[in-house]
Subunit: 412 residues, 2 copies
């Protein structure tokens, strides 16, 4: 068997791109100065990846599930459980989770402000959280957490729940909060509980001094909860259950942390790690190096590439790629002989488009035990003749575990 | 439709490799002098193959099932039926088969020697075989064959059998033979029969004069059967049932013959064919040439490449590749216009590692009707830009049958 190493997946969010006129027709990755990536490609292998499938534009959450080895068509639980995990609310199979807004309604539940003025302080959020968290409705426990501004996450925990219910948010002011209805008969109980919960949030929050003070200050009271993104934690085995591996996530954004925790990874906090170009790349490198001996698999997420793409900011995207290259260079220098790595994106976000597209993303697979192919630089064009060929997102985990000696042989 | 030819699959076991320092960083296949392979690649196509899937290290048995066109995740029966077929015991759907050892136990079934001294002559083996073969336990027929030394194969034939039972071999001397237990309720009958069988083997074999003579000569008696590798012949259609093709296997090793017979191939015996470098390559070539008119599909297995790899013997591996090249050259010269061939390995066994690994294997597809790609030599590196791309093991059979005019058009 292959000797045991730690597998590391580096994702630069939205990495894939298209030729940019301002870069003389090069893509940001092709244009960027990336000595580490080019060294890794010339020593190892590259290829292209359809993260979900050819022609399918990946959402970030489904893309990451695929990259963690799960078929998203079978295992995508909806946004709610992934956001809840990212917000710090654990979920388990069967739980139904939501993203939530604080909103303002009048006495007839007509929406006055879908975000209750947006500015909710963390002190106010904590008061609102405590008034709702821990409630029991029938045999269902309500768990609620405030995150930032008007946002939060909510989990329903109990028997016989279903996410197949209609939305309550009318998505417009001047309209009444919608009654939650079951889409399938099995969801009747969940719909009933959601309707009671909305009623209760209004009663409990209207009674808070905090809201009376907001009204005195001319601010809209946060007096109802609006839920969306409902999803159910599915009966998917964790990565530990599937492979016996201990996994870490090193990421700044809540959704990525949440998706990683959903499949059983531990969040390793890095001081100064954010979802922007100002993230502390040096601290991330140090933490990855330190974590190699403690984990079998490490997922490292850099968000800055995607932010730049959405902002059509080509220089910022090039910069984010170059800083990632330097960060990975430090890691290779320190622990290169003890790791097998894949470097890629979760989807393409061309700076000329500013949105996710279905273009496949380039990928590098490198380790001192991985034989070379004929490619020598890392970019979309060169990767199209790479030795990996065109793979799917869910191939990445087996490739990393196979070359790091962490999957049993199939058969004898 | 394509004109009818005979499809031939040549497997050099463990062919795939990694750069070897002693070969100036070339792989054995890249270093070897292979004029035939290079001619075939430049006229035809090459590619890489993940025999089971990306990152998955193939065992030999599962790998060959894939190469014969079967999804191993759906069709892998375990080692028992494949070994039984290789030993000459036919199996059919429903049968449960085992590999077996003759062992020595005391009167309390405490294991004294797991191999009964290992040296069991073929005369002794035959006596032991006849004392067990043909027994009936309840409505189940026991079929047993001695192979070499202490080894044999055993088949249970009857209704309601299951392979989901625990092992009986304690794998240590000084320990009692374990009671066989069902892992699922459906396996209760099988476990009961195995326990009775072990008891009966002890009674019948203790009573043999042969064993009394062994004791007189100071040798441990072969007085119990230990079973392992249990598996059930699944309800998989044979290649004839799937495609109406008549198939032959030309191989030296029992496991490869057995796996081929499991899917319905006939074993064509070649004088002097062995599992080592001393196998008679000329006789194999002659037999393949003779068989082209009698079979629609021929599977030819060369084991020497893998033995050399497990022994870390790079020169021997290069030699085995070069002799295979010459052998295939003779076949092309004689019947090249009547065949379509694929040449590959069942998995990688890098000589530097000495074990199976997950690296994809290079493959050639050639026939006078197959158009060329851009590749001109046969090796792992060149194959990474081949026209076949990266295929799976179970793609090989359809490719061979498609180009040899043996699969019907899909649709009208």
């Amino acid at each position: 068997m292959e000797s045991k190493r730690t597998a590391i997946l580096f994702i630069m969010d939205g990495l894939g791109d298209r030729p940019v006129p301002d870069l003389n027709g090069k893509t940001p990755l092709e244009f960027a100065n990336t000595p580490t990536f080019d060294m890794l490609v010339s020593q190892g292998q590259s290829g292209l990846m359809d993260v979900i499938g050819p022609g399918i534009t990946p959402g970030s959450d489904a893309a990451h599930l695929a990259l963690f080895g799960y078929d998203p068509y079978e295992n995508y639980p909806g946004r709610g459980p992934l956001e809840a995990q990212g917000a710090g609310l654990s979920t388990k199979p069967g739980d139904v989770a939501f993203r939530s807004n604080f909103a303002t309604v009048d006495e007839n539940f007509i929406v006055q402000d879908r975000r209750a003025g947006r500015e909710i302080s963390s002190e106010e959020g904590e008061i609102l959280q405590h008034a709702l968290d821990g409630l029991e409705i029938e045999d269902v426990l309500v768990r609620f957490i405030h995150t930032v501004e008007h946002r939060g996450a909510l989990v329903l925990e109990g028997p016989g729940l279903s996410p197949r219910i209609t939305d309550v948010d009318p998505h417009e002011t001047g309209k009444r909060v919608l009654e939650c209805k079951p889409v399938v008969p099995e969801a009747e109980k969940t719909a009933r509980i959601v309707n009671k919960l909305i009623q209760l949030s209004n009663e409990k929050w209207n009674a808070l001094d905090m809201n009376k003070k907001r009204i005195e200050r001319g601010l809209p009271p946060a007096n109802v909860i609006l839920l969306r993104g409902q999803g159910q934690h599915m009966d998917s085995p964790t990565l530990f259950e599937r492979y016996g591996i201990k996994c870490a996530v090193i990421a700044g954004g809540a959704l990525y942390i949440g998706t990683a925790k959903y499949v059983g990874m531990e969040h390793v906090l890095v001081e100064g790690q954010t979802g922007t170009i100002d993230t502390n790349f040096d601290n991330i490198a140090s933490k990855v190096i330190d974590s190699v001996e403690n984990y079998d698999y490490i997922f490292v997420h850099i968000k800055a590439t995607d932010n730049a793409s959405h902002d059509h900011d080509v220089n910022q995207k090039v910069l984010a790629i170059e800083r990632s290259d330097q960060m990975i260079g430090k890691i290779i220098e320190a622990v290169g002989d003890r790791i097998v790595i894949a470097i890629s994106g979760d989807h393409s976000t061309p700076v000329t488009i500013g949105e996710h597209t279905c273009d496949p993303v380039p990928i590098i697979l490198w380790g001192t035990n991985i034989r070379p192919d004929k490619t020598i630089t890392f970019c979309e064009l060169e990767s199209s003749i790479g030795g990996l060929g065109t793979i799917r997102g869910h191939d990445v985990l087996p490739l990393l575990l196979g070359y790091s000696g962490q999957i049993e042989k199939f058969g004898a």
